[in-house]
Symmetry: D2
Subunit: 293 residues, 4 copies
């Protein structure tokens, strides 16, 4: 399939490479061109502009840093909205706000273009191994058309509903659920340590009993080890996501007290000098607040 791939960060590069491995005809574009050039070895075509990349694509995938970058690439001059062919489909895989997803759906819609949201769960290793989980929402025909893209980069694709922003809600609430695992583990492990329980032993028990899920293993391990750097996911990114979830909730008058608490803890962690650490360092904050070294 003829695919344009916009955005070659840690995640995007891996995803584009997997599309190339699946023999798709992929044209890539990245703001800093070096990242694009690297993919020539994998048979990527390299576009000089978004316009050029998108103009003849059946599917255009965006995988960019944030709302700002996506809005610029899609709605800016020379952007995707202006250049996507009428039959083309924009598949937005970035973690963006619910509000922007709604706006993109409207903007593409009034140009007769298709828009679907398809954010991904997984870290760069999972992206490299084509093991992402993909949550998709939007028009079912457009989703069907984009299926080969999802097959090439993920281990599972989950269609959540007909409105594109639904997938963004799932992505954001998913990250919220992860952050609440971190917070509650942080409090629990701090208390266990106050009672001189070995934190590794503690996590070992949990993750072999009721909490035998990847998220508890990953973050339980990090917290027990107090291994908050290198940051797999930085504080600031955590803050951005919790801001997006709170905004999505406020837009529909939904209070989210645990999300509010997490937001305040992330801000406190930044205020206490942990900005460069992994977002799970709010567990370090919990330990310090409990008087642990």
């Amino acid at each position: 399939m003829k695919i344009a791939f916009i955005g070659l960060g840690n995640m995007g590069s891996c995803m584009a490479r997997n599309l190339l491995r699946a023999k798709h005809d992929v044209t890539v574009w990245n703001r800093t061109p070096a990242k694009a050039e690297e993919l020539r070895a994998d048979n990527a075509k390299v576009a000089k502009s978004v316009t050029e990349a998108v103009r003849e694509a059946e599917i255009t995938v965006t995988m960019l840093a944030d709302d700002h970058a996506v809005a610029a690439a899609v709605l800016g001059p020379g952007g995707i909205a202006e250049n996507l062919p009428p039959s083309g489909t924009h598949v937005s895989m970035s973690t963006i706000s619910v509000e922007l997803a709604m706006r993109l759906a409207v903007e593409h819609g009034r140009r007769g273009q298709q828009y679907i949201s398809a954010p991904v769960f997984g870290r760069p290793e999972a992206a490299a191994a084509a093991k992402l989980f993909i949550v998709v929402a939007g028009d079912s025909t457009a989703i069907e058309q984009a299926k080969p893209v999802f097959d090439a980069i993920g281990q599972g694709t989950f269609v959540i509903g007909p409105k594109p922003e639904m997938a963004n809600v799932v992505k954001l609430t998913g990250n919220f659920l992860i952050s609440s695992v971190i917070e509650s583990l942080g409090e629990a492990i701090a208390l266990a340590r106050k009672y001189e329980i070995d934190p590794h032993r503690y996590v070992d028990f949990l993750t072999n009993a009721m909490f035998a899920a990847p998220v508890y293993k990953t973050y339980g391990g990090i917290i027990a080890d107090e291994r908050y750097q290198p940051a797999g996911f930085k504080m600031r990114l955590g803050l951005k996501d919790v801001r997006l979830i709170l905004a999505a909730a406020e837009a529909v008058d939904a209070p989210m007290p645990i999300a509010s608490l997490i937001r305040d803890n992330l801000l406190t962690a930044v205020g206490r000098g942990m900005e460069a650490l992994d977002w799970s360092a709010t567990a370090k904050l919990a330990a310090e607040n409990a008087g642990l070294k």
Copy 2:
């Protein structure tokens, strides 16, 4: 082995029966004798008093409702502390406070008796199927001696450390972690519903991706179904446990903001008439607070 089993509620009856099936010599006692009589068919001896049950037991297991019941059975007149033989071991499997566990260790210790804490995770079905998870702490020789008890009733025994109260900390923090899963799922699912996402579909995705753990399946299912009765675990019991965790934390100067928030939500749920529902009905509270019917 010669075992006294004190407390035959929903959990205790199943556990005692599994000890009998494993061919142990079990004498049971229960405040309301009918529950004890039922076990005669399984070859239990029925004692008329705690004193009689305990006097010749190598191991005495208590599985009672709360601190009050345990303190009465152990420290009251004619109680376990007075009657347990010097070489005997008291295995406390109830969900009790950290403070009481510490006190029991002292009281048994000054009488030359052994005391270990061994609270269990699992619902009555798991107890019946000998599939409990058991967390044990205390003197290692005493634990070794009690091993046949654990083997007969659980699917896994996890030794957490040398001080008995450590096991109670693990039990209470475990329940706290479960309650925080409920709270965060409650907020997330309420938000998903506000965006017209089907809650079953939503839970289905989560529990097939990063959250593939029993606790998410169980409670995700309950919340998606809005099936809060019959109550598997009542509000008041949830409140009791959160009170115990907050007390254990306050005793060592550890703040637990998520536990505080859960406590306030459970109280609110009671105030709003949900006392008879399952403790996961705080998710119903989250939904109503978000303006859902």
Copy 3:
């Protein structure tokens, strides 16, 4: 002095009238002209556009509903920034975001115009009686120049510092402090009622002892009376203000846990159908959460 007055809502009309009473030469403008016409009787000149109102004014006062209205009036086509004479001063008295205040300072500055923030505390009655409290920040010469305006409408003018946005921070934190009085009174009075204490008696004691301040009298009275309508200040306005304070705090990485809690309570109150009530109806929420009728 030659004054343009933009925005004639409940507050603005009273303020403009007081300027006229103080014999200033006032040209008014309002989006719905009827409000402007009413002031002709007080010797106001009525402008047909912002441009016309502002063009020859020494001081231009804005008193509009929100960021959106202020941004449109100042930065939109035909707006204040385009038309204010170089020596003119824009005095922004609306409750706006810190971010917008900073932006207005920049925009006026690069046109050689003066900008000061001067938000007010007080309800319409206070505005009518020229009893507002005014918090001012910005260039001291510009503030000096605007002093006759403040003298005509307030009972006290308080200069807080050299950067205009400082005054907006004071206004927003002031509203936050008021909302936290409401919240804590709400919890306290609910508890008092649970113990069958008469709420009026309770408030009477407080406000005659350590809490003898207007804010406790006003809101203590409303809560004791359960008199949440007519709304003096609506839920949605409370939500707007708490959003602005949280945004101002987030911009400088300051956590505000009490503000977060208030935000969640306001959203919950909306979710529970109290949208039309006074923002102090979060105290009604506290009462209901405690199981009171």
Copy 4:
């Protein structure tokens, strides 16, 4: 009047001295006798035991540190309950739990004795100057009888209702309201400082406008000065009081989210080494959490 005064700490000594100044016949008792001996110069009689002090008193006042001390003095062997004459009245002025107040009412009641709760608001300076505020609850005849006591030590006596524990609820919620002023001022002043607003100027404005109450002046001043020692009221005492209020609320199923938050902040302050500071040092915590030095 014949008065027994039990408990001569910082507050009690001043209060007893004011009773002596008012020409009452006062017998004092204190656990460490030196404090009692000091009052001989003011014409106090010094008893060797609680029994001796109480036996002939019309009114017995207790002003002790906590529940434990009051329960021992009243219900212990040789205590007030055993020795108060049938027509005697016990006036409990300490800050004790609602639960203990209820228990004292029952214990005195079944001995035909009178019990009223009359906790005080004010610091030692206010006690010395006979400027305390006194909240009283209980049987109105008993209150009438005790009036000369209140007149001698306070600037105002406020009868809140017929059940003694009502006065304790008012005392505890009063302290809660004070602590919530501290918390909200802490957040607001931290934010003001982040925007480079002078904190003294800020507090000056507030306390000359809507917040012109003693509690804002006292604590606003402390926070602006960052003057957290010497501690007027220590962290641990703050923690004790918030624990009592949360217990009183939990006993009637009332959630108090702001009280919960304050409790967690006080615990955090202790965990971060502020145990010796004034309880208002949670404002220092707020500042540090916002990244201020």
